[in-house]
Structures are given as C-alpha cells and as structure tokens.
C-alpha cells in the first residue's frame, strides 16, 4: 500500500489548503467540462445504437452482515469463524456452496442465497472482499491505533458511512455522489437523444445520484409517480383525455387543459419559470416512463413470471428497473444509472432470523433480475453492484440466538453481478478474522480494516460504464492515494471484463 501524506494543520497550511480547495473545486468543474467534451467526442467516434449500458447501485441500508453472506466452508478461515461468531455461526453443511476459480479455499454463501450461489457458479456474480470507506490506506491494527492515519469521519455512524459510500469522498463535506458525477460526465456524450433523466431512483432521493447537472428522477414499483392531482387515485384530472390524447369535453378535461396551458406559460421571473419547468419536465418524464413500460410489455419477456418468487420490496424495485431497461428505446438513453435499496440490515437484535429473511429477499431478487436481463438479451450491457453502510462486528453482542445480533463494523464483502463481471471469483483480500488480530480496528469485536477502498471498488465499475482513464481521478479524487485497481495486480480488483 502507498504511504499517506501527513496532515499537519497550521494557520498558514489552512489558508493554503483553503485556497487550493477553492482552486480545486473550480478545477473540478472545469475538468468535468473538459472531460465531457472528450467523452462526447469519443462516443461520436465509437459509440453506436447498440452501445447501451445500465448501472445499478443496490444499497443495503443499516449495514449488511457480510460476514454471514460470504462464509468460509473449511480451513483456517472456517476455524476462525467458528471460534468467534458465537450464536451467529452458520453450520457449514447448510451453506449455499460456491466454487471460486481463483481461490483454493472452500466457501459458501448464506443458506438462503441459493439463487446467488447459482449465479456465482454460473460466472455471473463475484464477491469483492473487505471493501470500506478509507481516507488513506491503513496497513494494519497498529497503524490504525497509531492515530497517524486520518480515518473517515464518524466511522461507525450509519448516516455518515452511507453518505461516504455514495460520495466516495469521505474526507470532504458532501457535495455530490459518484453516480451523479459519472452521469454529469457521460450524459452529453451518450444521451443526446434522451427523453428522461439518465439517473433514475427506485428508492427516493439518494446521495449517490446527486450531480451538478443531471437530476435524479424518482419512480416507484408501479412506474412514474404522478403529479399530485394527475394520478388515477385522484379525481381532479382523472379520465380527462380521449384515446387520441385530446382533452375530453368534460369538467375534468377542461380543467386539465387549462392547467397545462398555465404550465406552458413562459415567465420572466426565474423562480416562476423554474417552477413551471419542473412541472413540465415531470409530466414529460411521466409520459416517457409510460412509453418505456409499454415497450417493455411488448417484449417477449414475462417479467411477472420471472419475479414470481421475488415479490418483495427489493424484487419489486428490480422488476421495475428490468422493465425500464427493456423499454430503453423509449428513454432514448444509451447510459442509465439506477438506484434501489432495502432497509432493515441494522441487525443488532434477532439477527439469525431477520438476516436470513433479508438474504432470501436479496438472493431471489438478484436471481430474478439477472434472469430478466438475460431474457432481454442484455447480459453484457447491465452491471449491478452492492453497497452498504459497513459490515457488522464479527463477534455477536449477546448469547441469545433469538434476541442477539451484531454491531457496527467496517470493511465488508460486496456483490457485483452481470455479464461484464468476471464471475465465479473472489476479489480483494479476505481479512484475518481473528478478533483483536492484525485486521481488527481496535478492541476485540472483529471490525475489519478495509483492504480495498470504496474509491478502488467504485472506480473499476465507473471505468466499465464509460469513465476513461483521463477522467477517473476527477470522479474519484482520492483514488491516487491507493494502489491502482487497474495496474497493481496485488490489489486483486480485476473483477470486470472491459473487453
């Protein structure tokens, strides 16, 4: 690992840093503008109608216990696991077995993850081990305890770690998410014919998709969220249109017509103009999403059947994403970023049962989604990656198998899925899971110091999506502090096939 710089703050240093920060932010905006031009030019030469890519961020809110998602089956790792996990131990014979090509040890996934294990063994899913937020590399427990290496602020707090995972800039106040920065970069180059924002969220406004230019558009499991008063549950404008799209000669038809005429006025006042733009855009996007769903329904893919075993919150979100990908021609975008999420992973209590249910929801949802993408013939065009606040403590917080759970940890194992993934492999490095051992961040609870930073993990994904090497450091400003995931073999982050 590279050595981090020392951080010594004097008044002069502060002023210099502040000045540099100002220049840095101005530089970032300029750099992104420049990069956008390059990307647009590159796409004009090489991109084509078939060059479609969709990136899905799945966030597991609360901190998934990935120590019980990827589980050692035998060997040294298994011995350490059995010695420390207490009531959270999952018997080896119950595991969903996986057989990584690049790891001689035997592994399994949580017993409820049978679908994910099938995907893994079929080469469509991989696990990147011990990933977490870092400001600088931390070699081991001694260096962690030394205090010489700046740590991510509020390291074990939910909301801070969620934001840091989504921004990939843990040591600066939050401004944008890395998904938003990537969208800002590639949007002009790939989505000139787009009819809807390339950033679509199935889970409300999120930090990941916040950019400076591309706005995130929120839909739900049923599609676009209608403006208040337009939806089928409201009678103000219900049944207002004829089949040909003209206004009905009715009270509601007239009301809708007048309202839309008002919304189409131009305003000299900027705030008024912006307000009507939001309304118009929402109406337009709603129409586009409706068209995309109609297009998806016209495909031969039976989404309802594929998701029959995944009728959960996550399954519903992934089903809508699969449909929107199926209707991608209506959106007109060649690059789309989706965000979905599930809560409930903060398993301080009753973990054995609740985590089992969560793993079942995760596994069935991912399997149905990948099957849908395969059925659409877009296996190599879609990539899903998982993120979570942190993993959880290796040791349990009690001795009751019905009441106890685990607490906030740090580095965890991440799932990446899709045709572009070099599946059936484990990447990164599995920690020494000895509580109080060299990878434990203080104490003896088993909170793993990440061996791979969020920046390294995310940059590989961003590169696949179209961020070239000239722009990668702009999107991930701290990436240079860590071993290059592209050039340093020992980082073991070659989890995507860029060919």
């Amino acid at each position: 690992m590279r050595q981090r710089d020392k951080d010594h703050l004097s008044r002069r240093h502060f002023l210099r840093s502040a000045a540099c920060a100002q220049l840095g932010y101005a530089g970032l905006v300029n750099a992104l503008t420049q990069m956008r031009l390059f990307t647009a030019a590159a796409n004009a030469q090489s991109g084509g109608p078939g060059d479609y890519k969709a990136l899905i961020c799945l966030f597991l809110f609360g901190g998934n216990d990935s120590n019980n998602t990827l589980i050692p089956f035998n060997g040294t790792h298994r011995t350490r696991y059995q010695n420390a996990r207490g009531i959270l131990t999952i018997p080896p014979e119950t595991l969903s077995r996986i057989h990584p090509d690049n790891d001689a040890d035997a592994w399994g996934l949580h017993p409820s993850c049978t679908g994910m294990a099938d995907l893994f063994n079929a080469g469509k899913l991989a696990v990147v081990q011990n990933v977490g937020t870092l400001v600088y590399p931390i070699a081991n427990r001694t260096e962690y305890l030394s205090g010489n290496v700046p740590l991510p602020p509020q390291l074990f707090s939910h909301s801070d770690q969620q934001i840091q995972w989504q921004s990939s800039v843990p040591d600066k106040p939050y401004e944008t998410g890395w998904g938003g920065r990537v969208a800002d970069l590639v949007n002009a180059g790939y989505n000139s014919d787009g009819n809807v924002s390339m950033s679509i969220s199935l889970s409300g406004i999120n930090s990941f998709q916040v950019g400076r230019e591309v706005i995130q558009y929120v839909v739900d499991k049923n599609g676009a969220t209608s403006l208040w008063g337009y939806g089928p549950a409201d009678n103000r404008y219900r049944d207002a249109l004829n089949a040909d799209g003209s206004y009905k000669n009715s009270w509601t038809g007239g009301r809708l017509q007048r309202f839309e005429e008002i919304m189409n006025f131009s305003h000299a006042n900027l705030q008024e103009e912006a307000y009507t733009q939001v309304i118009r855009r929402a109406r337009n996007y709603e129409g586009t999403i409706g068209s995309a769903l109609t297009e998806a329904d016209a495909t031969t893919v039976d989404f309802d059947a594929l998701f029959a075993g995944a009728q959960t919150s996550l399954g519903d979100q992934l089903k809508m994403i699969a449909k929107l990908i199926g209707g991608r021609n209506s959106s007109g975008n060649q690059r789309q970023v989706f965000f979905c999420s599930v809560g409930g992973y903060d398993t301080h209590a009753t973990q054995l049962s609740s985590h089992g249910n969560l793993m079942d929801e995760l596994s069935t949802g991912l399997k149905a989604f990948q099957d849908s993408i395969d059925a659409l013939g877009l296996t190599d065009n879609v990539l899903l990656f998982e993120a979570s606040d942190f993993t959880r403590t290796f040791t349990p917080n009690g001795s009751s198998d019905t009441a106890s759970g685990s607490d906030h940890g740090w580095g965890g194992h991440k799932i990446v899925m899709g045709g572009p993934v070099r599946g059936k492999n484990l990447y990164g490095h599995y920690p020494n899971t000895t509580p109080g051992g060299p990878d434990d961040a203080g104490g003896t609870r088993g909170r793993w110091i990440p061996s791979t930073s969020v920046d390294q993990y995310s940059s590989v994904i961003a590169k696949w999506f179209g961020v070239d090497s000239n722009a990668i450091d702009t999107i991930f400003p701290n990436l240079g502090r860590f071993d290059s995931p592209f050039d340093v073999a020992s980082a073991n982050l070659d989890f995507i096939n860029f060919a």
Binding site: R12, G147, N148, V149, P153, S157, H158, S159, R445
Partner: protein, 216 residues
C-alpha cells in the same frame, strides 16, 4: 448602475483587494510556527503511555500509541484508540479541562432513588454537551470508545465524565445500574441511541431501557 458608481467601484476594488492581501499576509506570518514549515513531518511518537489500564495503574515508559506532551496530566482512556476526527492526530493534545457538568448530576447516575430513564437522560445530556463542543458525537461504535471520548480522549482533552466515575469499569465501559455496559448506537454525527439491558442483563429484551423511549 450609473457611470459614476462604476468608476468609483473600479477605483475602490484594487485598493480593497490590496488591503485584504496585506491583512491575510500578516495573519499568515503570525500563524507560522517559528523554524517550521507545513511540510515538517510529524514525529511518530513524542512520549508513550501505557494503555489498557486505569490512570492509577499506569506504568511510565510502557509502549502505547498515545502521543502526549511531557509533564501534562492527560486523561488516559482504558483502551487504545485513535481520535477518529477525520484528521491525523496533533503532536500534542491540550491540557485536560472539565466540561461544565454539575457534580450532583454526575453523582446521580445509576442511583436507585432515580428511575432508570433518568440515567438515559443524563447520558444524552452529556452527549449533547460533547456535541456542543465538537459538533459531532464522540468517535467510535463501542461503549469503551464512546466513553473514552467523554472522559477526555478527544481533540481538546475535554473531560465530560471523570474517568474514575464509579459507573465506569476497568475496561473503560460505562455500566448501567445493573452492572451491564450500556449499548451505544451511532445513528449520525448528531444522534446516538443509548440502551440499558435492564434487570435481566440481556440486551434487546422487553425490559430494556432505551434513550429512544425517554423524552429528549
């Protein structure tokens, strides 16, 4: 804007910029430590102190990651941990200072004449005082880490709980009135839930007392 105003502004702006530059330059000189540059590397360790022990048990000279200034009585937490405030640690921590928390309040913690909810309210008040000073919760997720921050292991060596408080055990953990360590749950930099396991000593059972259950 009329022409006269524009002319005045054009005249005034360079002078204003010059004045700001002079003031900033003077301030930077004042702030510059003698015989040092910002690039001066930070020494790895200035002085060491034993950790994992109560203050009364310390063994001078034993290995420790803590860097303290010679001659200053620094409150040493019972476990070793970084400050965790997002920065590399300074060479010297300032002299310990007591936060203005009434002695009577400190003594009231875990007293049987008060209801258990009062203990949670007191701990939340201490955390609130910490946040008022640092604009964030103490570093860490474990009881002993949070308590270390409250007992002086922080960037200002601010002591909100005396490290020898009877409710703090040998491992540096804050115990509830039944002798079980409180469970600290960091939600955000401004929200920290605290739970007592209650009389059955078992967390996440019906007799738990949580700060989420008591009025703030």
């Amino acid at each position: 804007m009329d022409e006269t105003t524009k002319a005045r502004l054009a005249l005034a702006l360079p002078f204003t910029a010059l004045a700001i530059a002079i003031v900033v330059g003077w301030w930077m000189r004042q702030g510059s430590p003698p015989n040092s540059t910002p690039e001066t590397p930070i020494p790895e360790v200035n002085e060491t102190r034993t950790t994992g022990q109560r203050p009364s048990e310390k063994e001078p000279g034993a290995a420790s990651p803590f860097r303290v200034s010679p001659g200053i009585e620094v409150v040493t937490p019972a476990i070793s941990l970084p400050l965790g405030n997002g920065k590399a640690e300074p060479i010297e921590l300032p002299e310990p200072t007591r936060a203005p928390i009434a002695a009577a309040s400190l003594e009231s913690l875990n007293q049987s004449e008060n209801p258990p909810e009062a203990d949670l309210l007191f701990i939340q008040d201490v955390l609130k005082t910490y946040r008022a000073a640092f604009r964030e919760n103490p570093f860490g997720g474990e009881n002993e880490e949070i308590v270390a921050g409250l007992t002086g292991r922080n960037a200002r060596s601010l002591v909100l709980l005396p490290p020898d408080h009877p409710a703090i055990d040998e491992a540096g953990r804050l115990l509830d009135r039944w002798g079980t360590p409180y469970h600290f749950h960091p939600i955000s930099r401004e929200v920290m839930d605290v739970t007592s396991a209650g009389p059955d000593h078992q967390l996440f059972t019906e007799d738990d007392v949580s700060s989420t259950m008591v009025a703030d």
